[in-house]
């Protein structure tokens, strides 16, 4: 049984079939890529998997549990975390607080304990601080923990978003164009980080990316979307050499 099973997934906005009959099964520990031209419906698939949109047909199962039609909050609690194509950090809050918000549902204390700064508030806040710093260390952000998130350089903001998603201890991590706007050096670094996250946290990762070097470099399997339908899927090398994929997306 695969960790994530997507069957016949589809959504239409009025008469437009943004995604139609999309299937994918992502095995545990796999690095799975989702590619395709602009407007093919890749982010729409992400939005359906994370509950931002309700699919009009099809089912989504995570670890055997049906997630179809649940909202973002429930889906996160079931173990899916994501990053966004246009970075969505809590920009007026510190780097540390961003990660601590990811820990919100892991380490809990009541509102009253927070208001009275009770002993358990102090203990749990300390625990949160330590855990957040240990996650930031993975991404080399531990020295900037006190910065406002909006003051970080672009590449680090991307990393912080991944760190924040990881703090929710997901089973599946969705990365929406993690390398967008990065230079080749930063992309190389990011590839190492993604691999490291997969091995260190024993994570399954589904990612959307336009940078073919990154996709070919780290993804084990990929699916190609074109005009909302699935064009091809399978092992990375096979799919990237598929003539249909070359005409539709890669170019000759």
């Amino acid at each position: 049984m695969a960790l994530l099973e997507i069957k016949n997934l589809g959504i239409s906005f009025g008469g437009l079939h943004a995604v139609d009959n999309f299937n994918a099964s992502v095995e545990k520990g796999c690095l799975y890529g989702l590619i395709g031209p602009n407007g093919a419906g890749k982010t729409t698939v992400f939005n359906m998997v994370t509950g931002v949109y309700k699919p009009t047909c099809g089912t989504i199962h995570l670890d055997g549990k049906n997630l179809t039609g649940k909202n973002s909050i429930q889906i996160n609690k079931q173990g899916i975390a994501r990053t966004f194509q246009n970075i969505r950090l809590f920009s007026n809050m510190s780097v540390l607080d961003n990660v601590k918000l990811g820990l919100q549902n892991q380490i809990k204390y009541s509102v009253a304990q927070g208001i009275f700064h009770s002993r358990s508030y102090k203990r749990k806040e300390k625990e949160m601080d330590e855990k957040a710093i240990s996650i930031l260390k993975v991404f080399g952000l531990e020295n900037e923990y006190n910065y406002l998130a909006s003051n970080l350089p672009y590449g680090k903001q991307r990393k912080l978003e991944i760190a924040r998603a990881l703090a929710t201890t997901p089973k599946l991590l969705l990365l929406d164009e993690p390398a967008a706007g990065m230079n080749p050096n930063e992309t190389g670094e990011l590839m190492d980080t993604i691999r490291f996250v997969r091995d260190e946290f024993d994570m399954t990762i589904l990612l959307i990316e336009h940078d073919m070097k990154l996709v070919a470099g780290i993804c084990e399997r990929i699916s190609v979307l074109n005009f909302g339908t699935e064009l091809a899927s399978g092992k990375t090398e096979q799919v990237l050499n598929d003539p249909r994929v070359i005409t539709a997306y890669l170019g000759e």
């Binding site: 966004f84 969505r88 007026n92 809050m93 919100q104 927070g114 924040r164």
Partner: protein, 329 residues
């Protein structure tokens, strides 16, 4: 490191309030405070409580509401009706705090009743609906028998004084700053910064919005009870939208999300029209001009730099630089 800075920042705010309180107390004890000044102390304190609590919604949650005076009036009537009924039965030391808690809790209940349907709305829509709520509450109170109707509610014992207001201000400050620096406060701020990202982290948006709304309503209700105990007659007409907007002006002027700013702005905005009374006809004109000037300066980067140099920390660096320049020279 960061935690310590935060604690020091909060302690300075508490320190400013305590110092101001001591200063004014000394003035009153030594007989140097005019009756005019003494009459202003409770209204100033009330505006501090109202502004700090509204700041939780406007500054930290990032939602615009114009119904704060509505919560204040609900609390005021609940607390004062209780106080009138038990005026002869309970001693003041028990009755007044109990009235404040009852007023606050009733305002909380209204906060939930209004909040559940209304908090799905955002921005301008929320502002308009809360504005309407305040007006509805006011008309209902005017048309009811037991609230005294349009002629007002008479007979509330006048127990409010400057010292009680000070205690309530300190409680408000501690509760709101502690809340903001806790798990719930972080969630509230995250909704302001990016609602979609907050949802993707599994943060229950509706719950935390309602929480902020209810806590702010509680303190508005408590402020209402103190207000009712300060005057011989409680009239619903004072809780109109002008009152809500006055509180909002204080919050915006003091800086959204700055508790210390709210405290300072509350003092200035409440005291200014009274201090300008000697100018008679030009009073409201000057008040408006000062408001506009402060808003413009708040948004100006040049003034921001100037402000940065002129605070206490900046003064120290300035002295240090001068000293090192002298040594080098």
């Amino acid at each position: 490191m960061k935690k310590n800075n935060l604690n020091i920042h909060n302690l300075i705010t508490y320190g400013i309030v305590v110092a101001a309180f001591l200063f004014v107390s000394i003035l009153v004890w030594t007989g140097n405070a005019s009756r005019h000044l003494q009459a202003m102390l409770v209204p100033i304190g009330l505006n501090i409580i109202l502004a700090v609590s509204l700041n939780l919604i406007v500054g930290f949650l990032g939602e615009l509401t114009l119904g704060h005076a509505g919560f204040m009036s609900v609390g005021a009537y609940a607390g004062c009706l209780f106080a009138i009924k038990y005026a002869e039965i309970l001693p003041t030391a028990v009755r007044f705090p109990l009235a404040m808690i009852i007023g606050g809790l009733v305002a909380c209940v209204f906060g939930i009743i209004i909040g559940v349907p209304v908090l799905r709305l955002k921005g301008d829509y929320l502002a308009i609906v809360t504005l309407a709520f305040g007006e509805i509450i006011r008309s209902i109170i005017i048309n009811l028998e037991f609230t005294g109707g349009a002629s007002g509610l008479k007979g509330t014992p006048q127990n409010s004084n400057f010292y009680i207001v000070f205690v309530v201000i300190m409680i408000t400050l501690v509760v709101i700053t502690n809340l903001v620096n806790s798990r719930a406060g972080r969630a509230i701020c995250s909704i302001r910064d990016n609602r979609i990202a907050a949802e993707s982290l599994g943060i229950n948006i509706t719950y935390y919005k309602l929480l902020a709304f209810v806590i702010a309503a509680f303190f508005a209700g408590v402020a209402g009870v103190i207000y009712g105990h300060n005057l011989s007659i409680l009239q619903a007409s004072v809780f109109d939208y002008n009152r809500s907007i006055e509180i909002l002006v204080i919050v915006v002027l003091g800086g959204m999300g700055s508790i210390r700013g709210s405290v300072i702005a509350a003092v200035i905005i409440t005291a200014l029209p009274e201090m300008l009374r000697s100018l008679a006809d030009y009073r409201m004109l000057i008040y408006a001009v000062v408001l506009i000037a402060m808003m413009l300066l708040n948004g100006s980067q040049k003034f921001d730099k100037y402000k940065g140099r002129m605070n206490i920390g900046g003064l120290f660096t300035l002295l240090k630089n001068k000293k090192s320049a002298k040594e080098a020279g």
